[in-house]
Symmetry: C2
């Protein structure tokens, strides 16, 4: 049975199962969400108004046995950036959706009254029901209640209190195999879900096996692919230390933004490093390895316990630890883990909100390093939607505007994450040119600039950075369409067997015959589709720039500025 | 002695007196501020950063005996809109500056430390001194102290607590002949002044008479001009009722935005009308007529007393009364007057802030009509810079973002004033296309759409509105360059002697020979200069649009939407 589009109209509370239009056939994940958003959403619409749509799509390989293929893509016009947005996450939603025969869910319109709703997806289709029980509840409590009420095995996509309040940093939170939380974190997609008054979506595991055109070839390719993934040293480091392995590496490079981007090294980096985290986890009986979806062979997640051995948080990422650690100067992993737990429960982006707090620290709202006040602000202000909570819950740009701060690390109003573009210049090109605001995952030049993956490219030199970012952004757009985790990129860049195996997986799945050029073309096509949406929404090359302080304030210890001209940045788009 | 540029560099606390470059010679007021901002300010700069500049310029006729020629223009890149901005005001600053031989003040750079400063202008030049005494003080108290310390006769330009806190709705406040407050209100120029840590600027009256090339012709022209002004019926109505004469007229038209732009008529309009206001003023021993600068023959200002006969406010404008009255549904002129007094004292735009409060009412922060809470919010939140005060003090767009509201009446993030563009379509074209965000004074089509001045043009029909707005925006740009009050436009549109007399005044002042075409060319040149700045800052035709609710929600009682296509709006710029 061919996959279908599950369409939900919240204006009249109707649902429809539609055939997939020819033009969308070859797309999945980000390629599909961006294609549908570009086709159906008015680019100039208000992101929280009736003309915006939420598109949810598993990747092309999701639901199959291919390793690491369980990412779910959610797309819409972003209330944070005003651009097109795709945010992807682990969890079980992608695999279950695929096994429900769902190519994509499209949610359109706004309901008329004050009632809230939930959606239920099964192989039979999608239904809408009124919801009141879990409104206003934190994600942890809501997940327990919903699962008890429905089925513990479902995948759950939900918006927390932040999304109900339509904060621009609101996540769509997604359950993983342990009922822990993964997040579509960037760009405020939870607010779009909140605007449509959808508290949660349940997805039954599905009974349909995803059809494989050539199972034998598929399994053979998957063996090669899995071996390439699991044998790459970065995969192994990620399995051992999580993404937080980066603290010491990025600090050493001088590119770890510290105290709201005023320095490139954090004196207390050891206190928050991946090595410290690993030892703490082991000591307290947590789990250094944990997967966000079945079939992951990297296991970069972990279970971080408190001193008493009780679970504090999971999916504890470098970027979150950096943001609260170096950027807010909180040198205590337990506090950061507690903050991460609270942010997961509220359902806010754990990059955007801590970067916003660092800007508030610069504004004098609280002191750098004031851990207690950070926890209080998250619990008493953001979670409750007080005025200060709204200012912070709407992100770093919002704090900058509220307090008249000029050192505000955002591009297209989205917070710049954990890599300073002055000392790691390639990532600056990604931040500037990304179709979705500042986002390291759009073209992770850190791989080549710092980790020596895919060759090398001096992070302090301008040379080669534009091409590097272009190649990685192109590849990423394609990878984000497959349902694959971005962390396959390390193996793909270094191991000659990896990318061909991935292409073989796609070919065997669909009975087609893509080659490497097709993948590049797909990636370029997605980038151009997204950029065209943004241009139609009013974005220009003037938006493809970093905030002026990166050009003016030299970053210690290298004392470097971001020195790409506008013309150089614009040449990114010469393809 | 030829006029000079007084240049102040806050980075090194230096000042310079410069000759006026040839290219700036023929400009004054808005034409000069926009020319200088376009020439010297990096269009993409942060408005509160070191690359923005404040330009202050009297008009071409300011300082002369020409009637109504005392408007001062202040220009910069706006922190509210991100566009170029000119905001003009009455008061004595323009005339005194002209008599100090100052063609324009240019203030650039940011001071390095925490100290604040004041500037003092005299015929000898401009000086910088540290200031601490009046920091944090409301405008009323600050004016008294500064005048006692310096000279009661000086003109004073100051920024209130809102500007010190860099709120995007912060005014630059200007003293008038009675030491009451006039405001450069729109676009947050007070925040730019605050960013440069300038609390106030004193301007000595100056002893130099402004040179007149042909005094006899000047005086003859001024007689004709003055007669045309003072005999026009709208001038007379403005003298009797102030601008608030408009409440009943606009309400009758069905274009008075009510309850955050959900209706076009306000049931309690009589309670806040110009007629009621006039009677109340007379009854309480106030003054129905009051001038904002010497030489005004219209006297649209007034002194509004409380029930005990004590001064409550002056310069009590229709747009403020509309915003707190109809838009916030406060049917009590005394409360509105009190709020106006508080806003003058804090130094915030009395259009932007009340429109922001109405959006907050829609968000449920307070109830429509809750007068006590409005006064509390102004006094306890905005004045003190609490988080809610910052949200509101940064304008209607800020409130909309903080609370996820979609019905947010702004264009280029500046609040739409007192005329609904659905029922008065010409003004919608002005809001959409203005180089400075929504601003009725940029091309006041109300004159022709509603008042029957300069012909007639059905407010409910699309026909003729684009041409009308274009002609008025062009004329306004030219008028704003002369130092003339915009209210000369009524006479200029209807009385065949008025505009030639104005041109004669310019010719006699400078010994030149402009004709009507030169005035049109000047206006068009200014509009194009301003638009080019905005385009270089990243604005496109997508920014020349009204919020989507104006296209979707029909406005009672006429049940009309704003129905210009994008292409039609863009044709505004075909000149």
């Amino acid at each position: 049975m061919a996959d279908k589009i599950f369409r939900v109209n919240m204006a009249d509370l109707s649902t429809k199962i539609e055939d997939v239009p020819e033009a969308w056939m070859g797309h999945g994940g980000r390629g599909l969400t961006s294609t549908i958003v570009a086709a159906e959403v008015v680019p100039t619409c208000h992101p929280l108004g009736e003309d915006n749509k939420i598109v949810i799509a598993p990747g092309l390989l999701s639901g199959t046995t291919a390793s690491n293929s369980g990412r779910i893509s959610v797309g819409a016009k972003s209330p944070l950036t005003g651009t097109i947005k795709e945010s992807n996450s682990g969890g079980t939603a992608a695999q279950f959706l695929a096994r429900c025969g769902c190519k994509a869910i499209i949610i359109e319109g706004l309901p008329k009254g004050d009632a809230w709703y939930n959606l239920a997806v099964s192989p039979e289709g999608i239904t809408i029901a009124e919801e009141s029980e879990v409104l206003g509840m934190g994600n942890m409590a809501a997940i327990k209640i919903i699962k008890a009420r429905t089925d513990d095995k479902i995948a759950l996509m939900l918006t927390g209190p932040a999304g109900e309040m339509k904060m621009s940093a609101a996540n769509i939170s997604i359950t993983d195999p342990s009922n822990d939380i993964r997040s579509c974190g960037r760009g405020g997609l939870g607010a779009v879900m909140g605007s449509k008054k959808i508290k949660f979506i349940t997805i039954k595991p599905g009974k349909n096996k995803v059809e494989i055109a050539n199972p034998e070839a598929f399994n053979a390719a998957n063996r090669v692919f899995t071996k390439a993934l699991s044998s790459h040293p970065v995969s192994q480091a990620l399995g051992q230390y999580g993404t937080n392995v980066l603290v010491n590496l990025i600090n050493e490079s001088g590119g770890m933004p510290t105290k709201n981007f005023t320095a490139g090294q954090y004196a207390d980096h050891e206190a928050i490093s991946g090595e410290t985290m690993h030892d703490t986890i082991v000591e307290r009986g947590g789990k250094p390895k944990h997967n966000c979806h079945p079939g992951c062979v990297i296991n970069c997640s972990q279970l971080y316990n408190d001193a008493e051995g009780n679970k504090l948080t999971t999916g504890f990422e470098y970027e979150t630890i950096w943001a609260l650690g170096a950027d807010c100067s909180i040198n205590n992993l337990d506090v950061i883990a507690k903050a991460d737990q609270i942010m997961d429960d509220i359902g806010v982006d754990s990059i955007e909100v801590p970067v916003a707090i660092a800007v508030a620290m610069e504004a004098g709202v609280l002191e750098f390093g004031d851990a207690a006040e950070v926890l209080r602000i998250l619990t008493e202000e953001v979670a409750k939607g007080t005025p200060l909570g709204r200012i912070i819950g709407n992100g770093a740009g919002s704090v900058g505007k509220a307090y008249g701060v000029t050192r505000v690390p955002v591009v297209k109003n989205q917070a710049i994450p954990a890599y300073d573009p002055r000392a790691i210049k390639g990532i600056g090109i990604t931040y500037a040119t990304s179709t979705q605001g500042a986002d390291h995952t759009m073209g992770y030049t850190i791989a080549t600039n710092i980790l020596g993956v895919g060759g090398s490219c001096d992070p302090l030199s301008k040379e080669g950075q534009i091409e590097l970012s272009r190649n990685l952004q192109t590849a990423t757009a394609a990878i984000d369409s497959t349902g694959m985790c971005l962390f396959i990129a390390f193996a793909a860049l270094d191991d000659a067997t990896c990318l061909p195996a991935l292409i073989d997986l796609l070919n065997a799945r669909f009975g087609i015959s893509l080659d490497g050029n097709d993948v590049v073309n797909l990636g370029q096509h997605i980038l151009k589709t997204e950029r065209a949406f943004n241009q139609a929404a009013g974005f220009t090359n003037k938006d493809d720039r970093l905030p002026e302080f990166f050009y003016k304030e030299a970053l210690p210890p290298h004392n470097v500025v971001f020195d790409f001209t506008g013309e150089e940045i614009d040449s990114f788009w010469d393809f």
